[in-house]
């Protein structure tokens, strides 16, 4: 009897613990208090040199603006930021803003915790003019609109980059190749030539959903339309078939998750190619012993006349706390994404300037003149597009990576993998 009582008690405690988290309609107002009312706290992820620059920009902003000072709080990686914001939403106390990805912002918005940027932008006194908005690349703005939330803009671009091809000229030269591939057919041919010349695989793959999606885009496809995914479409099938071929012929191999082994292999002349966000350029620069031994190119395309790549990167979400906090956060976001600061941030970090007018900026021109390859990523921005901002997409990304891993491990067949992925991904999205 005593054991039964004990079991019931434990079961009851467990049931209470499994109760649903409070979810608010995104349109409804929930009262949140600032976690630190003396500053506008910005929970961010930047480290090392990027963090130093961000702090410098913030200090200068604080010195030249009235109102609450902005304070950068390094909050671990994006997973840590998400956990901390989620906990803070439950505690009804939030920072002024935080770096966030689309899936994170969606969750915050569902809890009624973030403010709509549409309201901030349209404000007659403190908003942005049409001319200013037109200066942003459309893709970086559209990436912050959420179809599941009536297409409203719940975040603002912060650290943007595009997927590019990093290549090692010395390895290409060993195979008698003098230029990186412009098409996927040329890419496959070069991988085969490199394998013959060096005996090594040509590409170390960081199995990432964004890379797979970028490949589908560059094959002329889409990953989502209406209410269903398009992983059984011809461009997706071509992508999966290419991955399968590369693995079967030992032309490519996957690296362990969350490592940068592909970048180190590239620097050590072990491989010829790695696909990474353009923002990884400064780190690769540090790994390379010879600045002329490597280059950056747009990812290969099925039709180089109609190129596509993927737009990456975190955004800033502003939380719905006090008017003072919101104003400070919005002021900082506007200043940070101004032409001058955008250019400065780009040169210092490798992230992309998100304004079209950056192209004429003297500092940018000087930077590109000194480092011509660094312009490649900026040129890709005009044809980059982001992944869908849909509820459940984060789970779909996991399925994409599982599919790609199975293909590279040789335990899956391309047509079947595409069909299976579509079926499971659609089921995930339908559940939302």
């Amino acid at each position: 009897m005593r054991n039964f009582f004990f079991f019931c008690l434990l079961f009851g405690v467990a049931l209470i613990g499994c109760g649903p988290a409070p979810v608010q309609n995104h349109a409804s107002r929930v009262q949140f208090t600032p976690i630190n009312s003396e500053v506008a706290a910005f929970w961010d992820r930047q480290t090392t040199d990027n963090a130093v620059l961000l702090h410098a920009i913030t200090d200068e902003y604080n010195a030249s603006h009235n109102g609450l000072p902005v304070k950068i709080v390094q909050t671990g990686n994006y997973g840590d930021i998400y956990r901390k914001v989620t906990a803070s939403i439950h505690a009804r106390t939030l920072p002024a803003m935080a770096a966030s990805y689309g899936a994170m912002t969606l969750e915050y918005a569902k809890a009624g915790a973030v403010v709509s940027f549409d309201t901030l932008i349209d404000h007659p006194e403190t908003g942005l003019t049409e001319r200013e908005m037109a200066d942003f690349f459309p893709a970086v703005i559209e990436a912050n609109r959420y179809e599941d939330l009536d297409g409203e803009m719940y975040s603002f671009p912060f650290t943007k980059s595009v997927l590019v091809l990093f290549y090692n000229k010395r390895v290409l030269a060993k195979a008698g190749i003098d230029a990186p591939p412009a098409t996927w057919d040329a890419f496959l041919a070069q991988c085969r030539a490199i394998k013959v010349a060096t005996g090594n695989p040509a590409w170390a793959i960081d199995v990432d959903a964004s890379t797979v999606n970028a490949m589908i885009f560059s094959m002329g496809g889409e990953v989502f339309r209406g209410k269903e995914t398009l992983f059984d479409s011809q461009p997706a099938q071509r992508t999966f078939a290419l991955l399968q071929t590369l693995a079967r012929e030992n032309l490519a191999y996957p690296i362990p998750p969350r490592t940068f082994n592909d970048e180190t292999a590239l620097a050590q002349d072990t491989i010829a190619f790695c696909f990474r966000p353009s923002s990884n350029r400064p780190y690769i620069e540090q790994l390379m012993d010879d600045p002329d031994a490597w280059g950056i190119a747009p990812i290969p395309q099925v039709d180089p006349e109609d190129p596509h790549t993927i737009l990456y990167g975190a955004n800033i979400s502003i939380f719905d706390t006090t008017e003072e906090q919101r104003a400070a956060a919005w002021g900082f976001v506007k200043a940070f994404t101004s032409r001058d600061t955008s250019v400065r941030w780009s040169i210092g970090t490798g992230y992309l300037p998100i304004r079209k007018s950056a192209v004429d900026h003297p500092d940018m021109q000087r930077f590109w003149a000194q480092n011509p390859r660094n312009r490649v990523a900026f040129d890709c921005l005009s044809f980059a597009k982001s992944e869908p901002n849909r509820l459940g997409w984060q789970e779909v990304r996991g399925l994409i990576e599982k599919t790609a891993t199975a293909l590279l491990a040789g335990i899956s067949d391309a047509p079947q993998a595409g069909a299976d992925l579509k079926r499971t991904a659609d089921a995930v999205l339908a559940r939302q």
Partner: protein
């Protein structure tokens, strides 16, 4: 003699896999980034970059982080030793209705993962106004089921006659604990203290979540500054990791004898 040589050879071979990671850390900490990321069996750096240690220590306010870490870990350890001694004694020696059930409930808390309690703990800390304070870093960790269990086992191992004899001499529970019980369970208490110190010293997520200021942060949070989205400064990370690791290694060697006694005394195998 031959037996001794074989024994020492076997022990040396067994120790190598344990020691190698530390030697690798030291070697990597003295290399440049390019060399540190090159997979090689050679441990010796081409260039001995001692300034890496300066660079690593300048990357974050490690002085403040170390002070916070030692303060938080020491106070937490002291609290855990007191609470687990008292609770362990109660569960071992005092007879009262519901003792078994209460002890079962205490042990049941070990089945709840930290991740599950993160949000309720944060909400509580936040509502108490403890965000970004030592209270948030210390108080939630001042008692834990495992330490209580260890101390209960230690007190259960003491013959009841000691307590009865002390009672005849006029001792109450607290005096018995202070003059007889605790001195006899020092090895286990040392083990509990060591576990508590290490748990506090190594914690990352909780300090990251409940602090919002360098003035309150701890060394484990400091180590995260070397890893970004673009790559890891593995050489600087190894410098900082070595420095951060040293106090715990020193502590282990200081408390090694008690620690081993405590572990063998509790019947814990790993």
């Amino acid at each position: 003699m031959m037996r001794k040589i074989l024994l020492y050879t076997a022990l040396t071979l067994g120790a190598l896999p344990m020691v190698y990671p530390f030697v690798w850390m030291l070697a990597t900490s003295l290399k440049g980034l390019q060399e540190a990321t090159t997979p090689t069996l050679s441990l010796l750096p081409e260039q001995w970059l001692w300034r890496n240690y300066l660079d690593a220590l300048r990357a974050a306010p490690f002085g403040r982080y170390f002070f916070n870490t030692f303060f938080v870990a020491s106070v937490t350890t002291a609290f855990v030793m007191v609470t687990s001694t008292l609770a362990g004694y109660v569960f071992a020696r005092l007879q009262f209705r519901g003792r078994g059930l209460l002890f079962g409930l205490v042990l049941a808390t070990m089945m709840i993962p930290f991740e599950a309690t993160l949000i309720p703990n944060f909400v509580l800390v936040s509502r108490l106004g403890w965000y970004n304070s030592y209270a948030a870093l210390i108080l939630p960790w001042c008692a834990n089921a495992f330490s209580i269990f260890l101390m209960r086992q230690a007190f259960l191992g003491l013959p009841a006659d000691y307590f009865n004899a002390a009672r005849i001499d006029g001792c109450g529970h607290l005096r018995y604990l202070a003059y007889v019980g605790v001195p006899l369970v020092v090895p286990m208490l040392t083990t509990v203290g060591l576990f508590a110190f290490l748990a506090s010293y190594n914690s990352l997520l909780w300090p990251l979540v409940v602090t919002g200021d360098d003035s309150m942060r701890v060394v484990q949070v400091g180590l995260t500054v070397f890893a970004g989205d673009q790559g890891v400064r593995v050489n600087l990370l190894m410098c900082a990791s070595l420095i951060v690791m040293l106090p715990t290694v020193a502590l282990y060697f200081m408390a090694q004898r008690h620690f081993v006694e405590g572990i063998t005394g509790s019947g814990i195998k790993s």
